[in-house]
């Protein structure tokens, strides 16, 4: 265990009454309807109890009464800022069970769009994190860029936020003709902005002071909590399902897994989590560029879409590397056109469960930063 920096003897010797502060569900920096019951000793967080479920929409119960294609719009709404990524493991799992081989073009579009959505997600994550730290301006720069990505998605799928684009066996529609040029332009602007944000926010001394050595999550505890995604990688463990168990066509592309190495503080602190996200955006750009180079423009994206989906009896756990971590669907089929059970392994849910461990002993203002660095979406936590 690493040492907690801000519990000093002076503080613990002052015998003061503890204050119970209810933070949320309506609070500017709980990123949604999350309620945190915080026990404060002065400004030090001594205990923390998250109360979740304010956005519980019974996804798993709904899924039991839906046909397989009808579930996809609901899956979009789990983690509503990276919908493309959400759809990917679900359709891949069903394709595996149905033994459908999707065409090359579909795979390429899926990879490109997942990576674009990963960029969009990380942009929001860093932007809102900046907002939590009091820096308003990077937020709007990132949102300006995210609009471009959303426009590309809208041109392809028709939806701006919730796409229903990846279908079992293919895609809902073919990409628009200017697809390649749009993405090339978007990547150029994304890189420009990233260079600016690095200087404006991530390398700012005040920002480093606020985030370095704060909310440290050591690797062993991170594993024990089942944390995945950028948070786990920030703790120094290079686990990325795209490399560890390559799905789709990820093994064709050359990219690195950024890990936290404690450049300005300790491994696994808030700054590391952000820099990992930041560097992942660059890796995603690299993947997209490679994919665009070999992109097969011929082919029908809907040729393998089955008219009616009826799964064989059985069960499957399908997973993919979401921007927030490992998103898994445990689908059990009893041979009907509706699933027997769909259980979601929501990365935000698991990551949030490590929050009390991360934030105990830090200051109240740090709690906001730690929560921001976990990058939760309550739609996914509560399902």
């Amino acid at each position: 265990m690493s040492e907690k920096k801000y519990i000093d003897i002076e503080f613990s010797q002052l015998d003061s009454e503890r204050m119970r502060l209810f933070m949320g569900p309506q609070h500017p920096s709980t990123h949604g309807v999350l309620q945190l019951e915080v026990e404060l000793d002065g400004e030090i967080v001594t205990d923390l109890i998250p109360h979740i479920g304010y956005l519980h929409r019974c996804f798993e119960k709904h899924a039991e009464n839906m046909t397989y294609p009808q579930i996809i719009p609901y899956i979009d709404r789990l983690d509503y800022i990276s919908s493309m990524n959400n759809e990917l493991p679900y359709v891949m799992g069903l394709e595996k069970m149905l033994d459908i081989q999707v065409s090359e073009k579909v795979e390429y579009i899926r990879v490109i769009f997942s990576e674009l959505n990963r960029i969009a997600n990380h942009q929001i994550a860093i932007a809102t994190f900046g907002l939590d730290s009091g820096a308003f301006t990077p937020f709007l720069y990132y949102f300006r860029d995210r609009e471009m990505i959303l426009t590309i998605f809208e041109k392809a799928s028709g939806g701006r936020l919730l796409y229903n684009y990846f279908w079992v066996g293919g895609l809902a529609a073919d990409v628009h003709p200017t697809f390649k040029e749009d993405i090339t332009e978007a990547i150029r602007i994304i890189r420009d902005t990233n260079a600016e944000i690095l200087n404006l926010l991530l390398k700012n001394k005040i920002f480093i002071d606020r985030t370095a050595n704060v909310g440290i999550l050591p690797a062993d505890i991170a594993i024990s909590y089942g944390v995945t995604g950028p948070i786990l990688r920030a703790s120094g463990i290079p686990l990325d399902l795209r490399k560890a168990e390559p799905y789709s066509i990820y093994e064709r592309f050359d990219f690195d897994i950024p890990v936290g190495n404690g450049e300005v503080g300790t491994v696994g602190d808030c700054w590391d989590r952000n820099i990992v996200r930041f560097r992942e955006m660059e890796e995603s750009c690299k993947i997209i560029e490679q994919a665009l180079k070999t992109f097969p423009s011929q082919g029908d994206v809907r040729e393998n879409v089955p008219k009616r989906i009826r799964l064989p009896k059985g069960e499957i756990y399908c997973k993919a590397e979401n921007p927030k971590g490992e998103l898994g669907f445990y689908i059990i089929s009893d041979g009907k056109d509706k699933p027997e059970r769909v259980k979601v392994r929501a990365p935000s849910f698991v990551n949030l469960s490590a929050l009390p461990e991360m934030s105990r002993g830090y200051m109240f203002a740090d709690l906001v930063m730690i929560l921001g660095s976990v990058d939760i979406v309550l739609g996914e936590v509560d399902r």
């Binding site: 839906m66 809208e154 028709g158 229903n164 529609a173 600016e196 200087n199 404006l200 001394k205």
Partner: protein, 184 residues
């Protein structure tokens, strides 16, 4: 001691770097689109609304054959269709595209407060009667105004006509029953 001065220097220097970036942006072109004045559908450019954008649904009642596929495909059950079967010899007019119709569609309601704009209904439709449009400005003060009955809206069947076909079908049923009970 060295660290101390380095930190102080970094604090000032990175703040200055940030200030240079923001002052640079102060004189750049703004990206805001003045929405009601500049409509996304009119604005030709990078951020305009594509023609395949999924917004309010539209149903062409001249094309709808009342097959209920869209209602079954809908994940949120926002479409409710009522049909009346036609008696022999009194078939509804054929589809605008030429197909035959056997059902009078007496009610075609879409509840846009529920609609999730997933476009599954348009995929399920065999005749292409239900389509997504780019129309998105249809908010209203009363949520019952968002329940669209396309039969009424397009006046494809008047109330009298609905009553008439319903009566005809009921009579037809009665006759059938009679025939079934007392075969000649």
């Amino acid at each position: 001691m060295k660290d101390y001065f380095k930190n102080v220097w970094l604090g000032v220097w990175t703040a200055l770097i940030g200030m240079r970036i923001t002052i640079d942006h102060l004189f750049r072109k703004n990206v805001t689109v003045q929405y009601p004045n500049v409509h996304p559908k009119d604005k030709a450019g990078w951020m305009d609304m594509p023609s395949n954008a999924r917004n309010r649904l539209y149903v062409d009642m001249d094309e709808c054959n009342g097959c209920n596929s869209c209602a079954r495909a809908c994940p949120v059950n926002c479409i409710s269709i009522e049909t009346v079967r036609s008696v022999p010899g009194d078939a509804p007019p054929p589809l605008a595209s030429g197909g035959k119709r056997n059902l009078w569609v007496s009610q075609f309601e879409i509840d846009f407060t529920k609609c999730c704009f997933c476009s599954l209904c348009t995929e399920a439709c065999p005749t292409g009667a239900i389509v997504m449009t780019t129309e998105f400005e249809y908010s209203s003060y009363n949520r019952y105004d968002l329940v669209y009955n396309f039969v009424k809206l397009q006046n494809s069947m008047s109330d009298e006509k609905i009553a008439e076909v319903k009566e005809k079908w009921a009579e037809h049923q009665k006759e059938k029953k009679k025939e079934a009970v007392e075969p000649k």
